[in-house]
Symmetry: C2
Subunit: 305 residues, 2 copies
């Protein structure tokens, strides 16, 4: 069973303390689909310009990702450029050229519409709703958002997430969305907005899962080198949802097993950690499922008591 992923496909130029890269493949849809592809078949919905390189398409299709929903239009692909601070906890955006992404109006290929799993990357909430409306056999749907939509498109966003099974956001977004600083109380409030499962991402500190009146906290993986954190949150989402799709969860007819969702959070954390080990999505070129499972066991080892 496949996972439909909607979001941006972009070119990024970025600089971290480890170096500089120019026009490397990026975008939320790219990272989510690559991370998910180690668990399930991903089908992407995105738009690129005529500058989109065959080698980049080949990276995606080489991972079994379905590109039928990757629209190619005249013009340039979304471009972002930024510089990370010395500790990589902050980044400064230098350029954001939306280019063809400015008119993105996701249309799902017929072959996508009856898939059971949908992961909505961080795009305008109205577009997230439109994608959902085009699907007709959904079992499990969720997505990401950001401060901009929370602040300036609040009503649209609330209508969108009301239909979601899960929401993955970071801690400052959770505080902004709920208007509550304490994360435990913030989560309680967000759960009433629709998503029964909430994952709050905390960057290097890991993530918290709120689900069925329980919570689960996983610390971040302690990398010896954080090479480039770009896309780590999206890879978390891809690993989380990819694992659940692989396991075939069906929450509308039965209660999801807590341990299953917890394991999905660990696989999300694993994929986010690998993402940081090289520039852009480079780590996924040669990553193996064995390495993923070995890191899963490392999470067990460093949290067990």
């Amino acid at each position: 069973m496949s996972l439909v992923v909607v979001g941006s496909v972009a070119y990024d130029s970025l600089e971290t303390p480890h170096g500089k890269v120019d026009r490397i493949l990026g975008g939320s849809c790219t990272y989510i689909a690559l991370a998910a592809s180690f668990f399930t078949r991903a089908k992407i919905v995105a738009v690129v310009g005529d500058d989109f390189a065959p080698a980049d398409a080949a990276l995606l299709s080489g991972r079994g990702i379905d590109l039928e929903g990757l629209e190619r239009v005249p013009g340039k692909t979304f471009f972002w450029s930024g510089v990370y601070s010395a500790d990589m906890n902050d980044r400064t955006t230098l350029v954001t050229d939306l280019n063809v992404f400015a008119n993105f109006d996701p249309k799902l290929p017929e072959s996508y519409r009856s898939e059971p799993y949908l992961l909505l990357g961080n795009i305008q909430p109205a577009l997230q709703r439109s994608v959902r409306a085009q699907m007709n056999g959904l079992r499990f749907i969720g997505g990401d958002t950001m401060n901009y939509w929370i602040r300036d498109y609040r009503d649209e966003l609330l209508s969108a997430i009301r239909q979601w099974d899960f929401l993955l956001i970071n801690d400052s977004e959770a505080r902004m969305l709920s208007g509550v600083h304490n994360l435990r109380r913030a989560a309680e409030k967000i759960i009433t907005m629709g998503p029964r499962t909430l994952v709050i991402k905390r960057g290097e500190y890991g993530a918290i899962l709120f689900h069925d009146h329980q919570h689960f906290i996983v610390p971040g993986f302690l990398l010896e080198d954080i090479f480039d954190p770009t896309g780590a949150g999206d890879c978390f989402a891809g690993g989380f949802m990819g694992y659940l799709a692989q396991q075939g969860v069906h929450p509308h007819t039965e209660q999801i097993d807590h341990q299953l969702v917890r394991r999905a959070v660990i696989y999300g954390s694993v994929m986010g950690s690998f993402c940081c080990e090289r520039f852009g999505p480079d780590r996924f070129r040669d990553l193996s499922r064995d390495e993923i499972d070995a890191r899963y066991r490392e999470f067990k080892a460093f949290t067990d008591f």
Copy 2:
């Protein structure tokens, strides 16, 4: 077997978003000894002025804490006053009156000198060394320090910690002490400075234990209300060392069991979390060992996968 604790006993006036308290009992020695007292007998070494209230001495002795090493001299007790930010991640010091603490020259009562466990709170490294030199049957010794000693008393500090079995510091102190940003690499470097066991405290995000080429990460407890974070790091230290003393570790003759040290980190985290639930050390007035063990089980429940 008892634990000797050295540090400050103080009066604190502080303000958090939950309210304001005036001249409440504080100081590193107070918090460490109170937290440790739920596990083992603590014997304190500190100095107070003639304003030290009998009710505060009674709180300590009521927890079985030995006050023979609590020196009382003419003058005023160490006084600190501060205000926490709205999210309680920062605090501004308004007043620091060292008072009688300025001339603190710890002298251990005869009855303390052969105790096996020593926990050195954050005081001048030369005084930490002097205390160590007064003891003659030590099995396990460690302590805390702060940015001021790391920056301005580096050589003294390095001589002190060279003799320690463990060091408990926070993440920014670990970075400052090692000169390395990445915590995993920072820890490797600090371990070469003497302490074979290193705990890096991360505030609300929990703690990392480095021990015998392994690491263990525990997330912070997700409190619904952080009432007052003053003393939480010291309570972590007290819980950590109190538990180890209770278990009777003896690292000079045998390898410490990893699981034992991990459990000590959890008990440290448990005590730090209770500390934040009320102003100052108030939570320890009625805390029970059953509540402590229940929270230990909660740590198991929210980290298990």
